[in-house]
Symmetry: C2
Subunit: 123 residues, 2 copies
DNA sequence: TTTCGATAGGAATTGCTATTCATATCCCCT
DNA sequence: AGGGGATATGAATAGCAATTCCTATCGAAA
């Protein structure tokens, strides 16, 4: 076997968290959470998509998909006007992000807690 | 907007956990953990792959990839012989699965804990 | 009232990932 | 000694998801 392409020491635990239906179908993917955060910061879907380095087409489709599955809007869309348009989060989207962040912190803590033991066990 | 294709009530939090390098490159993907568990149960990579409904080619490649990145073997491979051959987990792979399962349980607990609050906030 | 830039969304294309295909090797058991 | 079934691996193909391309629409500001 060839020498390892990575050192045992710089190993990390990563995860993705998403909201799903019983069927397993993703309702709000992790990438969509990130997108919503970027919209909150940037004020437009276009800027958010660019920030995350994904195509506008995909970003737009992802949010639309989540909205349809949830049954409510995550963004208030404005076409035309100053700057050409903008997108803002709805209060429900704010709630979603708040809940997501809270859970995210808990999971980060669980990983933090397990990390040393994990590294020990796999080396 | 059309009526939602899913009820707010049957919504679940799902996640994937994996071991990664600084670069973000996956070292042991979640699917590989599952594969290793299946090998442990089934005694062969072929049976494990079939059990998980993935091609033998991919299963084989995934394990090889993880082994190369880790720098050690996760399976003891045996060609020929009774039954044509078999694969068994190495003790390091057992450790890996043990560590993975422990962390997995912690993350499940974090989700369990946050679940009601989450559902409340997103409805 | 014309312009500018973002939202909206269909259609074609690209690009990656997994499957499929093909072939070789190994070795216990009969 | 030979058969059978799993491991091993390259090469081609299929399947899918994201990007690219295009064309419309909207409305504040100049």
């Amino acid at each position: 076997m060839k020498p390892p392409r990575s050192s045992k020491n710089d190993v990390f635990l990563r995860y993705k968290l998403w909201l799903a239906a019983v069927s397993g179908e993703g309702i709000v993917e992790e990438s969509t959470y990130l997108l919503l955060k970027a919209v909150r910061e940037k004020g437009s879907l276009k800027a958010a998509a660019e920030h995350l380095n994904v195509s506008y087409r995909k970003a737009w489709g992802d949010i639309k998909n989540s909205e349809e599955l949830l049954g409510y809007e995550l963004t208030e869309k404005h076409r035309g006007g100053q700057g050409g348009g903008k997108s803002e989060l709805t209060s429900k989207a704010f709630n979603l992000l708040e809940a997501y962040d809270a859970l995210h912190r808990k999971m980060d803590a669980a990983i933090e807690e397990a990390y040393q033991d994990f590294k020990e066990k796999i080396k």
